[in-house]
């Protein structure tokens, strides 16, 4: 077995050193009735050749690649990842290192995370960012937990336009922490209903949680929401499933957000059937001692050289145990590294340009589709790279019919929004060619 270096002779020598007769003797502390005696019922070992064939076959049972056009977003996006990214994150020194607990032998990871924290704080327009959460959904739930800790209040107002799976995760996370979660409805523009907000916002409210862009792709100025929240002593949390929008649109910080979360998958991480993602988490510096997750800080070594370490570990589970700010331990460091490398390559100019390009392409498609007879755009609000379409036929039918054209047409909203059962969430990025877009429009026209 190629991963197991022991030769028979070495095993004998080692058993001798240990002072036992055979390997079974090493398991003598397991009570006999608990010893597992039959072989595991698992498929027999595969050689590397057959393993690759098998996995290749499985992967080919998924629609993907150049033959297919996909217009799916909804929190997971197909974006351009420079070839260098996969190369660099594959380097064993990054790939096979543990969490950088011992800084003297982990400066590579540590400096990269420090760069990541800086970039994320910049993009979200906030003071500090941590080393990552699992993904956007759990990050959003943790943001509410932070708001609760900071404000000592126990009510969260969550926009119904926030990613529905994020809302589900919030409910799961918070249900046992005595936090009341109330929903804020959306307007025909797809924005948060300000009147409802006003009504719900009170001195119990820890935070208002808004999707930005929201699940309908709508981008709304939340400055007034921030003001209202602050006036009530609550925090504004923004949750951004598509942070590429922030190359063009106001940053959460610019609107007054106190905590900003994002799903960073768009930055250099493949869709990979939805995971791993990259939970970006930023907030005001004031809250840093209540923040979840790891933080890397700058310091110096015994000789005065600049170096980086994990810091404020007293917030974390391995030090504080039941009093920790969160239970998170393993995060998604390698995804954060991929984001750091990608953003280093895109750079200031590329980030902005790519953001514009997504906007322009989505606007173009939106116009073309809106011109198809019987097709409508659901919301009047500004959108980034996705929008809700009301096709002539039932969304699930549209989706099913276009599979034949090798088009993955969009995400039907009925599952999460009965009130939007005719809605189809359609996304376009720089990865959709002009030809794909034209084919999509033509196909929808055919169905109209």
């Amino acid at each position: 077995m190629r991963y197991l270096p022991h030769t028979e002779q070495e095993i004998r020598e080692m058993l001798k050193t240990v002072g036992v007769a055979n390997i079974d003797a090493l398991f003598s502390t397991v009570p006999d009735p608990l010893l597992f005696k039959r072989p595991l019922e698992l498929p027999a070992a595969l050689s590397e050749i057959h393993l690759r064939n098998h996995l290749r076959d499985l992967s080919r049972k998924n629609a993907h690649g150049e033959d297919w056009s996909q217009f799916l977003g909804g929190g997971c996006y197909s974006h351009y990842i420079p070839s260098s990214v996969s190369y660099l994150i594959s380097r064993g020194e990054f790939l096979t290192a543990y969490t950088p607990y011992q800084p003297e032998v982990s400066q590579g990871t540590l400096q990269a995370i420090f760069e990541y924290q800086t970039m994320m704080a910049e993009i979200l327009g906030l003071e500090v960012a941590n080393a990552s959460q699992y993904d956007g959904s759990t990050g959003t739930a943790e943001a509410i937990r932070l708001a609760v800790a900071v404000t000592k209040r126990h009510k969260a107002l969550v926009a119904r336009s926030l990613h529905p799976e994020y809302r589900q995760v919030i409910l799961t996370y918070l249900k046992n922490e005595g936090v009341a979660v109330e929903e804020l409805p959306f307007t025909p523009a797809g924005t948060i209903d300000r009147a409802a907000l006003k009504k719900s916002l009170d001195e119990q409210t820890a935070c208002v949680v808004a999707g930005y862009p929201n699940f309908f792709g709508v981008v709304e100025d939340l400055s007034d929401v921030a003001e209202a929240a602050h006036a009530a002593g609550a925090l504004l949390i923004t949750s951004t499933p598509e942070p590429l929008a922030l190359g063009l649109f106001k940053s959460p910080g610019e609107m007054g957000a106190d905590i900003a979360v994002a799903e960073g998958q768009s930055f250099g991480n493949a869709m990979s059937f939805g995971g791993p993602g990259l939970g970006v988490f930023a907030c005001r510096k004031d809250y840093v001692r209540s923040m979840p997750g790891r933080l890397v800080g700058e310091t110096v070594d015994a000789e005065g050289q600049r170096g980086f370490v994990l810091t404020l570990a007293t917030r974390e589970q391995h030090i504080r145990r039941e009093k920790a700010t969160s239970n998170i331990c393993t995060n998604v460091a390698l995804c954060a590294l991929a984001a750091t490398i990608t953003l280093a390559l895109w750079g200031k100019g590329g980030f902005k340009e790519l953001s514009r390009m997504n906007y322009d392409r989505a606007e173009d498609l939106k116009e073309k589709l809106a011109a198809v007879p019987g097709v409508r755009i659901a919301f009047s609000g500004t959108t980034f790279n996705e929008f809700v379409l009301i096709p002539r036929q039932k969304p699930t039918d549209v989706v099913a019919k276009l599979i034949g054209d090798k088009i993955l047409a969009g995400i039907p909203l009925w599952r999460w929004y009965p009130e939007l059962a005719e809605g189809l969430l359609v996304c376009v990025t720089e990865m959709n060619t002009d030809e794909q877009i034209d084919r999509f429009v033509a196909a929808l026209r055919r169905l109209s």
Binding site: P43, A45, T118, A129, R145, T172, T299, L408
Partner: protein
């Protein structure tokens, strides 16, 4: 072999320090669509100060940074509780197949049959390996699995009429256990480890009552010892209506040798990034699937992958579910790697993994006994915990030993954990290390024990050979420079 020979070690500035205005590292298509202007009120005011670099700049930067890291690929990484085993490259290759990497989670079921088939099979494999009945792959890491598992217990207790108030946790447990309990609204009752390093059924019996929702137990525990009374312990908990959560971080000690489910565990998380070779990546991503007994299945997170006549399907309608713990389906990329590993190893291979992991730990124990204090005498499983008791006599601590190991070219073990051993040095070799490597490591440890006697100062000042010396952690926490300061 040692670190600190001469060689390429570059000082590497931060990306922001080498950025030059107008430099480009990207390659984007020309815009083919008319430029549009979003409403002015929505336009970003200040561009994020991302660096401006060329592709060669970026390649060099990260190549150099990488070389400052210790990793499994560099040398032995005996981090206790972390199972730093070899990460096969074939896993990386298959996870990058476009048919896995570029699939969207909201594609219609019939267009993702490969993903669903893989997940369905992996659930079954993990159930068989753990002796449990059903598995969810949604949790993103071990701690996330704990959260899921305790939510399931709570759901079960609630369904029975009372969520209960407390969770029992041995004092040797990982910090995530108590931290998770708090998040699920439970008070933690700490159970003292017995004199032999094991949880005593009697200690559990003493605390177990109708207020206790359950017990979280790690087996083998973090001292590397099998909980010999596990069966009785589970019975006691069950007899009072409690459930037993198994922290499966140490599953590498049990594959095909003993199944948690058979011992009475009701719910268990796996760390695929430990036992099943998905890479740690400098801290993640991981994957923390949770396996349960039938009784808890109704509560598992949605959605579930189910097999139907015409293929696999994603099912959302599970009214008793605790809900979602994560968007989409879990860390699918990691699931592919773990699946690949299990298919490569097969049942015999996995058994051998555990046998050799345990042999390696016992070998280290035998070789270092005498040089380092062994707090417990009993038989070791996959890891071994020493303490700095002997070294303390000359004023040398576990931290000194750890830092000095770096000079010998090894990653330090886990230190000061578990908390029940004062000055713990927790060594987990894993099965992918050869006897020669273990011998070199043990030689280094023995040599350090000698140095501790003769030249304690050498150890206090260690490491001497790494790129950077001991870092001022106090300054870091006091000054809190958590990002680059663009003004400076």
């Amino acid at each position: 072999m040692s670190t600190g020979g001469r060689g390429f070690q570059f000082q590497e500035p931060l990306l922001f320090e080498v950025s030059r205005e107008g430099r480009e590292g990207f390659s984007l298509p020309a815009s083919t669509k008319p430029r549009r202007e979003p409403p002015a009120a929505l336009r970003r005011l200040n561009d994020p100060r991302l660096p401006e670099l060329s592709e060669p700049d970026v390649i060099r930067h990260f190549t150099r940074l990488s070389q400052w890291n210790f990793s499994i690929d560099t040398n032995f990484y005996p981090l206790g509780s972390c199972t730093m085993k070899h990460n096969p490259r074939v896993n990386e290759e298959v996870a990058r197949y476009t048919g896995f990497a570029h699939v969207h989670p909201y594609q219609p079921d019939e267009t993702v049959q490969g993903c669903l088939a893989l997940m369905h099979a992996l659930e079954q494999y993990l159930a068989e390996i753990s002796g449990m009945d059903a598995v969810t792959l949604q949790p993103a890491a071990g701690a996330h699995g704990e959260l899921t598992g305790l939510l399931l217990i709570r759901a079960h207790q609630t369904a029975k009429g009372n969520p209960r108030k407390k969770i029992l946790i041995p004092d040797s447990a990982h910090g995530t256990n108590p931290a998770t309990s708090s998040m699920v609204g439970y008070d933690v009752v700490q159970i003292k480890t017995g004199r032999e390093g094991r949880t005593l059924a009697s200690a559990i019996a003493a605390e177990m009552d109708e207020d206790v929702a359950g017990l979280m137990i790690t087996n083998p525990n973090t001292l590397g010892l099998y909980e010999t009374e596990i069966r009785d312990i589970c019975d006691i908990v069950h007899s009072k209506g409690g459930l037993v959560y198994g922290d499966g971080a140490n599953m590498n000690a049990l594959l095909s040798k003993a199944r948690p489910g058979d011992a009475g565990i009701d719910v268990l998380h796996f760390n695929l990034h430990k036992t099943f070779t998905t890479p740690h990546g400098g801290g993640g991503p991981g994957a923390g699937p949770v396996a349960v007994k039938k009784i808890l299945e109704p509560y598992l997170p949605v959605p579930r992958v189910v097999q139907k006549e015409n293929g696999f399907a994603v099912e959302y309608n599970r009214p008793q579910s605790v809900g979602r713990v994560k968007a989409f389906f879990g860390n699918f990329g990691m699931l592919v790697r773990a699946y690949t590993y299990i298919r490569e190893m097969g049942p015999d291979g996995l058994k051998r993994v555990t046998e050799l992991a345990v042999l390696n730990a016992n070998y280290i124990r035998s070789r270092l006994k005498g040089s380092y204090h062994l707090p417990f005498e009993a038989g070791q499983m996959h890891e071994v915990v020493f303490s700095d008791k002997i070294q303390k006599e000359s004023g040398v601590t576990t931290l000194d030993v750890a830092k000095r190991l770096m000079d010998y070219g090894f990653a330090p073990p886990t230190v000061y954990f578990p908390l029940v051993v004062f000055g713990a040095i927790m060594i987990e070799p894993t099965e992918t290390e050869s006897k020669e490597t273990l011998d070199r490591f043990c030689d280094a440890m023995v040599s350090i024990a000698e140095e501790a006697k003769k030249d304690p100062d050498l150890l206090h000042k260690a490491p001497h050979q790494t790129k950077i010396r001991r870092l001022d952690e106090v300054k870091a926490a006091r000054e809190l420079k958590l990002r680059y300061d663009f003004k400076s």
